[in-house]
């Protein structure tokens, strides 16, 4: 366990800890471009140079391991001069694209220039090395080689994290540039992480491109609900519109975020987002739709089944269970979902596409209910006249529902989710619009924070259920999501 001194502060660190990591522990920030905590160390950007006593030259903090008695200085004149000069080198060939560059505002070059350089360029525009400008590379990224500072984070990400090795540094010296290897396409399911880790604007997201300047964006920490992994994310939004999701790195679940998860926010802004109820195929106002659904439920009393959904939060599932037990008064409700869980590709994507399979279990423990097989059997045998469930869960019973004559009333956030032949559809506030509790495949409880508000009139599912019950003459007394959680232990 070597003890080292950085800027006069001593710290004892594990053997093998780098100076950069040790400094980070002391709260001393060392600038870096090529270093990334989850990638191998490359040491090519030279931005993290620090002065180590008795060392003849400055050393890169990211690749120098702490040794007993090292005395490190990160703010000496020599280090400051080194940082300024390294930045000057990096900026020699950098085009002044900031006005049209999406990275502006969160750009490593801009930030470090303000912090460590502020020097005027000594090189004329005409002498800059020219490279290929914007070029779509893969389905999600745009590459601008001119902006690249060759830190190779993208190359290392592709070879170490996704292990697909699409990118490589081509050519040598002044002529080097990042490019795809021959015959490869940058379409691994994690390509958008490259736009995040790129410290400059060389890789930018095609989806986010020119949509919004980053300094206008507000940040809300929430959870990605694209699959059972339940990665922590940060939603970047402005004026009630989400513009992008980026990972919120945490040791439990994720450092990265898959492309599928990043684009889940698009369902909110999709053209088929439901703001009104649907009866058969026609849109009607929410109130009449609710009344119609309640009437049909009352009509079919005694032959109504309710099914929860692994796509809904615990609150919403519990509200559905309350509806089945206290308002519809049926025993035919099902909160039994057993999907195989586990990381499918060795990185993040889960075998289970539903975000809350584990979260439905406590609801089942509290309310009981029949198994999915039993429910399917009863539907197929024609005993069930009406099934109330969430749209994607209804699709699980597709085979049983076929030719059974069962009326299906579903809750859906997007029109595309509605299963064929559904009788009525009630809209509800989706993941990013209402708080909800989810349990991921590791058993970690995750509460979402809504970055945006639901469209006018659209309520969370537990509220819709509460109203549905009151139209049938029962009171569930659900005034908040927490009311629904009462009696459930998890």
């Amino acid at each position: 366990m070597p003890t080292i001194t950085i800027d006069g502060k001593s710290i004892e660190v594990e053997k093998g800890t780098t100076l950069l990591a040790a400094a980070q522990k002391l709260g001393i920030y060392i600038p870096r471009y090529c270093y990334h905590p989850k990638l191998s160390i490359s040491g090519n950007c030279r931005m993290c140079l620090v002065e180590v006593e008795k060392a003849p030259k400055l050393l890169t903090a990211c690749s120098t391991e702490a040794a007993e008695g090292m005395v490190v200085r990160t703010t000496s004149d020599k280090v400051k001069a080194a940082r300024r000069d390294v930045l000057e080198y990096l900026l020699i060939n950098h085009p002044l694209d900031c006005p049209i560059c999406d990275q502006a505002g969160e750009c490593g070059l801009q930030d470090y220039y303000m912090d460590y350089s502020l020097a005027r360029s000594r090189f004329s525009m005409a002498d800059k090395v020219r490279r290929e400008k914007r070029r779509p590379i893969g389905p999600n990224l745009v590459l601008d080689n001119e902006r690249c500072i060759l830190c190779t984070r993208c190359v290392r990400f592709c070879s170490e994290v996704t292990k697909t090795s699409e990118l490589e540094v081509m050519n040598r010296g002044d002529h080097s540039y990042i490019d795809l290897k021959e015959g490869k396409a940058l379409d691994n399911g994690y390509s958008l992480n490259i736009a995040d880790i790129c410290p400059v604007g060389a890789f930018t997201s095609r989806d986010f491109r020119f949509k919004q300047r980053v300094w206008f964006l507000k940040r809300t920490k929430t959870v990605c609900l694209g699959c059972a992994t339940g990665c922590l994310v940060e939603a970047h939004h402005n004026e009630n519109v989400i513009y992008r999701l980026v990972p919120d790195p945490n040791p439990e679940t994720n450092t990265w975020l898959c492309d599928h998860g990043r684009l889940t926010y698009k369902a909110l802004q999709a053209g088929d987002r439901l703001k009104k109820g649907v009866i058969k195929n026609g849109l009607i106002e929410l109130e009449p739709a609710l009344r119609e659904a309640a009437t049909r439920i009352d009509e079919a009393r005694g032959a109504v089944a309710v099914m929860g959904s692994p796509w809904l939060s615990i609150e919403d599932n519990a509200a559905l269970a309350r509806l089945a037990r206290d308002s519809v008064k049926t025993g035919d409700y099902c909160f039994d979902f057993n999907f195989e869980q586990g990381i499918k590709d060795g990185i993040l994507i889960n075998k289970d596409q539903a975000p809350n399979t584990a979260g439905v279990r406590p609801v089942k423990a509290a309310y009981g209910g029949i198994s999915m097989g039993e429910l399917a059997g009863r539907i197929a045998s024609g005993k069930i006249k009406l099934l109330l469930t969430e749209a994607r869960a209804a699709a699980l019973l597709k085979d049983a529902l076929k030719d059974s004559g069962t009326r299906v009333v579903v809750f859906a956030a997007n029109r595309g989710e509605i299963p064929a032949g559904a009788y009525a559809t009630l809209p509800y506030a989706a993941y990013f619009e209402t708080p909800g509790t989810f349990i991921n495949y590791q058993g970690l409880r995750r509460r979402t924070t809504p970055p945006v508000a639901a469209p006018e009139g659209v309520k969370p599912l537990w509220d819709v259920v509460n109203k549905l019950a009151s139209y049938s003459g029962a009171s569930l007394g659900l005034d908040s999501g927490d009311d629904a959680l009462k009696g459930i232990s998890f």
Partner: protein, 186 residues
């Protein structure tokens, strides 16, 4: 000490005290001006603003209504970098960016609105512009309007160069100059 000024008001004389004489004198003044203006309206000092614009003095460099400068191929110099929108203290600028597929400048404003009803004419947008694309030198002072929508300047109404404006190239924008050069524009 409060200083007190004694005012020595003259007492009114008889004609003034009987009131009607002074009234008639006053009406005579009003009537004289009425007929003078009726038969000689050009002598009126009143300006029918905003229908009648006021010429600005000599080489005055007031901040007047905005305009967006145009490149020699007719495209706006603006690259939708949002600097003016960010700098604007009155939140009167609204931009929506879009992408040129062919033009190597890449970015342009699909929507560029300035709400003159909110604008405080501070000129921060001009200061902030890195492309020298916005200017406040039209020498038009935004006037009154019957409707708020009349104050909304859109990209179409903002885009114009001043007559005889030299060097219509993309100024600081290397990509724009190259693009225009490749098309043989001056």
């Amino acid at each position: 000490m409060i200083s007190v000024k004694k005012v020595n008001n003259k007492p009114l004389n008889l004609l003034e005290r009987i009131y009607l004489y002074e009234i008639a004198r006053g009406i005579a003044v009003t009537t004289r001006h009425f007929f003078a203006n009726l038969f000689n309206p050009k002598g009126l000092p009143t300006i029918q603003y905003p229908e009648q614009p006021v010429p600005l003095y000599g080489n005055a460099r007031f901040r007047s209504r905005h305009r967006l400068k145009v490149r020699s191929d007719g495209s706006p110099k603006c690259v939708a970098c949002f600097m003016c929108q960010t700098a604007c203290p009155a939140y009167c600028i609204h931009i929506e960016a879009a992408e040129y597929q062919e033009n190597s400048v890449e970015k342009y404003p699909a929507v560029f609105n300035i709400d003159l009803a909110r604008c405080v004419m501070c000129g921060m947008c001009v200061e902030a512009c890195p492309e020298d694309a916005i200017a406040m030198d039209t020498e038009e002072i935004p006037g009154g309007a019957a409707d708020r929508t009349e104050f909304l300047m859109t990209k179409e109404s903002l885009l114009r160069n001043r007559p005889g404006e030299p060097s219509l190239k993309g100024a600081a924008n290397r990509l724009a100059n190259e693009y225009l050069g490749s098309r043989g524009e001056q």
